[in-house]
């Protein structure tokens, strides 16, 4: 489902980075582990189409990601990729519900209010639907951010250090939530982190040096 081969990325400074080949099956869940500066976030940027490789190919499903033009790649990302951040990164001027529904709207899919509220209920944040992010706790915001990455039923869920700012209990809870939701939706999950606490939760691990 995700096939990444011969990737090389050139930073604006001129430094070049070679990244390992990765192949993930549809629905597979993988932990991409590596220390700071090993290129974890760069790999995520390349997989999501936010960055362009100097060399190599990335295929997600039937799509050759970097063969798409910029605009088409944006549309592809909106429809098929869900991104979870270390910080929730919510839009403060929009309600919690609208923050979640935003990804659906950008993907061009109709907003199914009932389905979203049901998902919010499942994550125990339904009561926050009409509130604004500033009215929510950090944990609640994190769940809103996760649901936003799932709401449009993407093929690929990419999580960038989703647990590194959390204590162990919450880190494991967030990772568990991600895994459950990805499985529920049949999406491929790649969690990029330097957080070793998550290693036991994943059967597939890719190490970056």
């Amino acid at each position: 489902m995700l096939l990444s081969e011969g990737l090389q990325f050139a930073y604006p400074s001129g430094t070049s980075l070679s990244l390992p080949d990765v192949s993930l099956e549809a629905g597979e869940q993988a932990l991409i582990l590596g220390p700071s500066g090993s290129g974890k976030s760069t790999l995520l940027g390349l997989w999501s189409g936010l960055l362009s490789p100097k060399q190599g190919t990335i295929q997600v499903g039937e799509t050759e990601v970097h063969a798409l033009t910029g605009r088409d790649r944006d549309h592809w990302r909106a429809r098929h990729v869900g991104i979870v951040y270390q910080r929730p990164r919510l839009i403060e001027s929009q309600s919690v519900f609208n923050n979640i529904a935003l990804q659906s709207k950008l993907s061009g899919k109709p907003v199914d209010r009932a389905a979203i509220l049901a998902d919010m209920e499942g994550l125990q944040i339904a009561h926050l639907a009409d509130r604004y992010p500033s009215d929510c706790s950090v944990g609640e915001q994190q769940r809103v951010g996760i649901l936003r990455a799932l709401v449009h039923a993407p093929q690929l869920i990419l999580a960038d250090e989703p647990t590194s700012a959390l204590d162990t209990k919450n880190a494991l809870a967030v990772a568990d939530l991600l895994q459950q939701q990805a499985k529920l939706r049949g999406a491929t999950l790649a969690v990029v982190t330097h957080d070793d606490r998550l290693r036991p939760l994943f059967s597939r691990t890719v190490e970056l040096n």
Partner: protein
């Protein structure tokens, strides 16, 4: 569009102060422009409607503008009196050029409202009809314009004594004169007649002919009304009061042919031509050159007056445009500040799949929404300004029907503001377009 709209409205609600500032400044500029347009439209409309088809005003020599404003708009002091003997030919129905000539005898008032001595034709000039009572059949009977009746709180049968001149000066009351009696009240017309007290010519002649001149010595007649007494010759003491010199002061009904009373004076004559030809074009010129009379064409005089006023309008209009441009500058600054604040949001939107075009459009839409809101607020503000002015000046310059209706020029002003807002938003939108999506 729905997503963009939702995001833009969210941002405007989230930072209401900045939005309000921008909207307020634009509203001020558009409001000022709007008020100018509405006032101009009202003045032109009122000027034109009150002309009532009058082709020529004939009176004593002086300022043509003063003659027109005093005789048609009743907003200035008359230029003086003219003997009927000098204008009698114009009143004759057999006059080759003049279809109708309506005499006016001015000079008295009641609580600031002008008393106009005239003939019944004066009511016809404004298509005025009687709402209550009857018209003035006898001397000292008056018909009140609708506003005059309301504001003076006078009813049918009420009596009052007039004041010499237009100031409400108790020292100048014709205390020894006969009282005026309200015989009728007119339907509102939206014209200057609504503000007047109308009576027979004979009434004015009687008031000024019958009162005790010995008592008048206490009045300062040189000051009242500011009449230009230097410009007409051969007047006697009575002339200084806009009054005639005739001896009989009986309260006889007004004769049908006013122009036969050649021993009396009038203040002005409102004339309508039978048609337009070279002779009518030269008529006023001949009168001015060869007689002691002055003839003024109201349409020409008011057009000249409008030109003079337009230079003042130009200054206000320039000021309004400067304010609109300043509001656009503030819009640019507000959008750039917003851009800095929302850089994280814009980057997130790009990461979630929003295209650069979506982000560009979002900034433009925000600017346009602010421009539309500011413009609409401006249109409301302009009308509020007109309403306030109307509250202050309704007595003399009542607004007509449709005064608050949207004018075509205002539509252009709104479109112009939106266009300028789009231009102001181009740079911020371009910077937003280039926001790095980054993780």
């Amino acid at each position: 569009m729905g997503t963009t709209w939702q995001l833009v409205m969210g941002y405007l609600r989230y930072r209401p102060l900045a939005a309000t500032l921008s909207i307020g400044l634009l509203a001020l500029g558009v409001g000022l422009l709007s008020l100018l347009v509405l006032l101009d439209q009202q003045l032109t409309r009122q000027f034109e409607r009150n002309l009532a088809g009058i082709d020529l005003v004939i009176g004593a020599k002086g300022s043509p503008l003063q003659l027109v404003t005093s005789s048609i708009y009743h907003a200035d002091a008359p230029t003086g009196n003219v003997p009927i003997a000098e204008v009698k030919a114009f009143g004759n129905p057999k006059h080759p050029l003049i279809e109708e000539a309506i005499p006016l005898a001015l000079g008295d008032s009641y609580r600031g409202r002008r008393i106009v001595g005239t003939t019944q034709s004066f009511l016809g000039l404004y298509d005025a009809s009687i709402a209550q009572g009857k018209t003035f059949d006898k001397p000292f009977e008056v018909v009140l314009g609708a506003n005059a009746a309301r504001k003076l709180a006078l009813s049918l049968g009420d009596e009052f004594k007039s004041v010499h001149g237009l100031d409400d000066n108790p020292d100048l009351v014709h205390a020894d004169g006969k009282s005026f009696s309200v015989s009728g009240i007119l339907e509102p017309t939206g014209l200057v007649i609504d503000e007047l007290i109308i009576t027979q010519l004979q009434t004015v002649w009687d008031v000024h002919g019958s009162h005790d001149h010995g008592e008048e010595d206490a009045h300062d007649h040189d000051d009242h009304e500011g009449h230009d007494h230097d410009n007409h010759t051969g007047h006697d003491h009575a002339d200084e009061h806009n009054v005639p010199t005739s001896e009989p002061r009986t309260l006889n009904p007004e004769p049908a042919a006013w122009y036969t009373k050649t021993d009396q004076n009038i203040t002005a004559l409102l004339a309508k031509f039978k048609g337009r030809n070279t002779m009518t074009l030269n008529f006023a010129r001949n009168l001015n050159a060869n007689t002691n009379l002055m003839a003024a064409t109201p349409a020409v005089v008011m057009a000249q007056f409008s030109e003079q006023v337009s230079s003042a309008e130009d200054v206000i209009q320039a000021l309004a445009i400067v304010i609109v441009l300043a509001s656009m500058l503030s819009l640019l600054i507000i959008l750039l500040n917003a851009l800095r604040e929302r850089k994280g949001d814009l980057s997130l939107l790009r990461a979630l799949g929003a295209t650069p075009g979506f982000i560009f459009g979002m900034v433009l839409l925000e600017s346009v929404v602010l421009a539309i809101l500011g413009s609409l607020a401006g249109l409301v503000l302009g009308r509020f300004g007109l309403w306030i002015l109307n509250q202050q000046l309704a007595d003399k310059y009542p607004v007509g029907q449709g005064a608050f209706a949207l004018q075509t020029v205002e539509g252009y002003a709104v479109l112009g503001a939106i266009g300028l807002a789009l231009i102001a938003a181009l740079y911020p939108a371009w910077r937003a377009y280039r926001v790095d999506p980054g993780l």
